[in-house]
Symmetry: C2
Subunit: 343 residues, 2 copies
DNA sequence: AGAAAAAGTTTACGCGGGCAAAGTTTCTGT
DNA sequence: ACAGAAACTTTGCCCGCGTAAACTTTTTCT
């Protein structure tokens, strides 16, 4: 790096021996200039390490190179993980991801979208809060800025949705549980935040019916996102009150299962499918921590990779199009049974 | 909202009946204008909902209102939690947080800083990777942009550092363990990524010495950030090989403890301080899941709130100053013993 | 080699606001 | 009521880059 101070593209163009408009062209697409000039510019780049001013660039562009990535709750390792993979894909496509967490509140979700709006993102990937979301506001946003939903759906909102096929995955684990032991009760929150919870309940009913068994749902009280705490506290009550009809419980998600597992442990109940165990617990989502619960949690692993990849793919395609296509793309991916020792 | 389209501050100034420079002043600080004009502007704001263009604003400002927040790994709930509290504080102070995760790699850490640099942040809050960090590059960055370090320190880098007092916290838990049972061995990774691990080892030695006991360290192999996996796998070896000198293990952090707990469970070892238990396990950090391990993990709760608050406070002060003060502020906060059933 | 095509250069303007200077109006305090 | 301070208005330039038009140079191809 030389001593001369490069303050802007003008200066940089001067030292590289290329005109400013051409330099500008280079930064927008290095391949759009002749090879020889590209080399000149890149040579200068090494000597002076100049970078175009992002704010000046974006002021004049309609579409920036930013892609918003909004998740309900980064504290939940599930979302942290999926956000991470999507971030990688976005960067790989030459865009700049902006990660925002709604921290479980619809106000924050809308605030995030508003804050993204002022950044003029090329597109937004949104995992909505679900039932708690202010759908109308989200829909309004999605109608103005290319938006793809993932994880949980809001009917008709956004240009596409990718998530898990709860019917398939719940069917899979219910069948497994019935095949290998007593049929499961379903443990869920009475007022679930996430619409997936409702889909899972319906899937549970369908699966049980298919097997000719009577479904049994245990609903626990509690609001908010502190799932483990809720199922830990309420789980003790469920266990003490003998609310379970069989020795098997399918929790609507792993975080509930983790709390329930702790509740069972505290009551001295041995969990697992081995001899000497009096309770089987299964979950759904394959939470990063589920591998290290005691015993390891049998669960469903969602196909994060596909969901992430397809979502990013869709938003990129959407960005590329001039006018939004009329059809809303929707795809559900199969879950995979992860057998551990809890059930 | 009226029909007239407001395209810029000029238009908005017109409809609000105030001159553009004064409107500009208002947006920079609503209290800097007379009350009557503020009302006029705010009235217009309700009718037209105009927002200044962020890019145009930042292009001309020396210091933007952005504060970078870089953590080593958002997948780690510990950092997710602390990032969340800091985000709140930053927003509360009228700044705009930009959350970035280094995903455990020094390249990504530097890439994050570089990407922040081009955004011209007012300041940056950085929890460095630690030993893995490219210190020189980080130091270079910190010398150009107001930077405050937290969680793990890099000597002399940045204007301030806030973290936990490992000497105090490790002393506390070692004393508790010795008082309540057999003295602990220390379980840690052979090549820890985080410099806190080294401080904790030294603190362990010091505490044991103070109590007139002989320290005993068990170092396990493994690289990367997949702590649970490492201690789960290696923990089995440790337990089988009888590498423990007593029935008590202090893990360098909760994530290691979680893996080790799972390893013990798999071997049929009952963990806890109750009768019938043959192993006590303690951790450090009070990981969000430590409450739901089986049994609940006895650990040290770091004073996140203070660390977060002081870090944000420091960066705001730093931003406010014209010239950086010469002295590097450094403060360590006490940990709190969290007693659960594992030890 | 000659001509068309491709790429680069000059020149000029615009984006949406920050900011400074000079002048005008409105608000304080006595 | 009046002076001085405070706040506001006008005017005008600047930031750093995108981009268009008109023209010149280089490349490519028959």
């Amino acid at each position: 790096m030389s001593g001369a101070k490069i303050r802007n593209m003008e200066d940089f163009a001067a030292v590289s021996g290329i005109s400013r408009p051409t330099v500008s062209k280079y930064f927008n697409n290095p391949d759009s200039v002749r090879k020889s000039t590209r080399f000149k510019i890149e040579a200068a780049l090494e000597r002076y390490d100049y970078r175009p001013n992002i704010y000046a660039i974006n002021q004049n562009r309609r579409r920036t190179k930013n892609i918003g990535l909004v998740v309900p709750n980064l504290t939940d390792p599930f979302f942290a993980a999926i956000a991470r993979t999507m971030e990688g894909l976005i960067v790989g496509a030459g865009y700049n991801p902006l990660l925002l967490s709604s921290h479980g509140g619809p106000e924050q979700e809308i605030a995030n979208l508003e804050s993204l709006r002022s950044i003029k993102p090329a597109g937004v990937l949104l995992a909505p809060l679900g039932r708690a979301s202010w759908s109308d506001d989200v829909a309004q946003f999605a109608s103005e800025i290319p938006t793809v939903l993932f994880d949980s759906n809001l009917d008709g909102v956004g240009a596409a949705f990718f998530g898990s096929d709860n019917a398939q995955s719940i069917g899979l684990i219910v069948e497994y549980l019935c095949r290998s032991g007593e049929p499961p009760s379903l443990l869920e929150m009475k007022t679930p935040i996430n619409p997936n919870a409702n889909r899972r309940r319906r899937a549970y009913f369908a699966a049980m019916e298919r097997l000719g068994l009577e479904p049994h749902v245990v609903q626990i009280d509690g609001t908010g996102w502190d799932f483990e705490e809720i199922s830990y506290t309420e789980g003790q009550r469920v266990l003490e009150g003998g609310q379970l009809r069989t020795n098997t419980v399918l929790c609507s998600n792993d975080r509930l299962a983790i709390g329930f597992l702790a509740a069972a442990y505290d009551q001295g109940i041995r969990v697992g499918r081995e001899a000497g165990c009096s309770l089987r617990i299964a979950g759904h989502d394959d939470h990063p921590f589920s591998r290290y619960t005691c015993p390891g949690l049998t669960t469903i692993s969602q196909d994060y990779d596909s969901i992430g990849a397809r979502s990013v793919e869709a938003i990129l395609k959407l960005i590329g199009e001039d006018e939004p296509s009329e059809t809303r793309e929707e795809a559900l991916f199969d879950g995979r049974l992860v057998m551990r020792k809890s059930a």
